[in-house]
Symmetry: C2
Subunit: 343 residues, 2 copies
DNA sequence: TTGTACGCGTTATCAT
DNA sequence: ATGATAACGCGTACAA
């Protein structure tokens, strides 16, 4: 069934059918009824490909993330997809992994699919070496690009992010103010936001006149799912004689490992070891005690990102950057006087 | 830049350009080089919409799941997407939620997008009332439908699943054989696989001549993310005087709640309470002790599902059902003599 | 080996 | 208010 068949059955031209289909006001009500009746009878829906060819859009938007099964990214994809669909857009999903080349080819593929826009979810799409971000710049020359939790100055690139620097800085400062001077900063990503968090930690130390020791900034190389690995990693540090009375982690999963470590070593939480995670994910409530964590309001971020996206596609002038604040949610692994987000 | 522009620049016809583009052998090497050179120079890629219109496919497949941020479904989406992409297909993702009407409209939308096939991930797409599965039957009349973890007899519907009945039955039997006669079965879904698991539990009880008490089969109505809610729920049962020395849960999240409950009540795990979850997800390792859980080999399932999908699209004759076995992975919340999967 | 011409199913621009 | 017809850009019979 195509538009010709419908037009014949309804005794009108294809132009009229098209008008009915697209809600044009220039159709006599009786004609509209007649056509609609035929459309309904045959359950006709216009061919999306032909429509796409004519309009040069199929109303679809690409979502690229490293790994949609990652707790945090999964949430992001979910929120973004839902919001986009509410606005009449389809979502083409690609998991690019963390390798540079794969990220680049994922983006190319997406553009060749002729999506209206592309969303890069996760800070890992921006690297410190600006040359390696060139492929995003090139993409932005063709379609608008939206970054979640990453920062890039480039025409047609729009960033929606949480101020990870400030959030981490405040959390670290709160820990210090509570009397802990040896905070272990634990991270597992060199991404843009990974570095911002690290800087936040360092900044807090400087502000409080505490020497930033290299040993207290530990990078965990293991799998993003290996909580036990984190536990072992910390036990290793412990055995090497490294002393720390707080763990500030760039991800909840690392914090969960820290809690396990403390239990294994018989260290009291939060008495002898405070633990703060990041993302305020399901992991924080699964752990015992529940993990204090920085919430970066992902749902709000995603809603805002999609709002920006839709507006840009509608030709509106939009700010290239929107920055939200994070917030420390205290649970069982800290006992800090005030909420870390109130400066 | 379109194919006409390229053909002019290369001094050939569009047919030749098309042949080069699609790797036809009937092109003189020198001509091919000449055309390729122009294509590369302009970075030309064929218009996907026009291609789609002509070929009646854009090589895209719809993935529908209730909630892509759910720990289990997120994994499923990830595995499926990766495998499909390896085979040259794009994935259009939709989260339908758990409401019947929304599931139906999600499927309709997908079909109108003219995807080559649609994958329904999660057992919640098949309901016990067969009338409510009619929309899937209708969809299958148009494109092949692939179900992950659900069972349906219908032409053009292909099911890839784990034998949840058997896995649960074996786990329950193992618990009983270890001396526990009051196993609390905890579940939160009336989906197809949810019921199969419940039946597995009941079957094990029957096999071991244990009366199946309605009180020992508890449905948790709260949020899928509220581990604390589960904990409170169990505390409530405890206060009401319900006695149970094992919890068999249809999902890891419920099991995590059970572990919390035991700790709160000072109940020894696994001594006085054994706990078994389902899915063997990240939650099992976050908990302390780590949670024994039934692994239904999701990655294998997804790989198989995609294999079937690709084969069907290639016109091969494929079995409508493929059923794998689950496997009990013992961790800290049980101490059963042998692996539950070896009967 | 290469080129011509048509079909794919829309939307949009003209007339009428 | 309605109809005829030209794009849209590609793949592909068919012809050469």
């Amino acid at each position: 069934m195509n538009i010709y068949d419908i037009s014949k059955q309804a005794g009108v031209s294809i132009a009229t059918v098209s008008r009915v289909l697209n809600g044009s006001p220039n159709v006599k009500p009786s004609t509209r009824r007649k056509v609609m009746e035929v459309i309904d009878r045959y359950g006709y829906t216009p061919n999306a490909f032909a429509r796409g060819l004519g309009l040069d859009t199929m109303n679809s938007i690409g979502i690229i993330c490293a790994d949609s099964s990652d707790l945090y990214l999964a949430k992001a994809v979910y929120y973004i997809e839902g919001n986009l669909r509410k606005n009449g857009y389809n979502c083409i999903l690609t998991c690019s992994g963390y390798e540079h080349g794969d990220k680049e080819s994922a983006l190319t593929l997406m553009i060749n699919q002729r999506v209206d826009a592309v969303i890069l979810a996760g800070s890992n799409y921006i690297e410190t070496d600006t040359d390696r971000n060139l492929y995003i710049r090139n993409a932005a020359a063709q379609i608008p690009v939206f970054l979640l939790n990453a920062d890039m100055d480039c025409p047609n690139v729009f960033c929606t992010m949480c101020d990870d620097f400030k959030a981490t800085q405040e959390a670290a400062a709160a820990l210090i103010d509570s009397g802990v001077t040896d905070i272990l900063y634990l991270y597992n990503s060199h991404s843009y936001s990974g570095l911002r968090k690290l800087e936040g930690y360092q900044s807090a130390c400087h502000m409080r006149n505490i020497a930033v020791s290299g040993e207290l900034m530990q990078f965990y190389e293991g799998s993003r799912e290996d909580i036990d690995g984190v536990c072992r990693f910390l036990c290793g540090l412990h055995e090497q004689g490294l002393s720390f009375h707080a763990v500030l982690a760039s991800e909840d999963m690392l914090a969960a490992g820290a809690v396990k470590y403390a239990k294994l070593q018989g260290i009291d939480i939060p008495g002898d070891l405070a633990v703060i995670g990041y993302n305020n994910s399901l992991l924080t409530t699964c752990s015992d005690p529940e993990i204090s964590s920085i919430d970066n309001h992902l749902e709000t971020l995603c809603a805002q990102l999609v709002r920006t996206c839709i507006s840009v596609l509608n030709g509106e002038d939009m700010p290239p950057k929107v920055i939200y604040s994070g917030e420390l949610i205290q649970k069982g692994t800290t006992r800090l006087p005030v909420s870390g987000s109130q400066k």
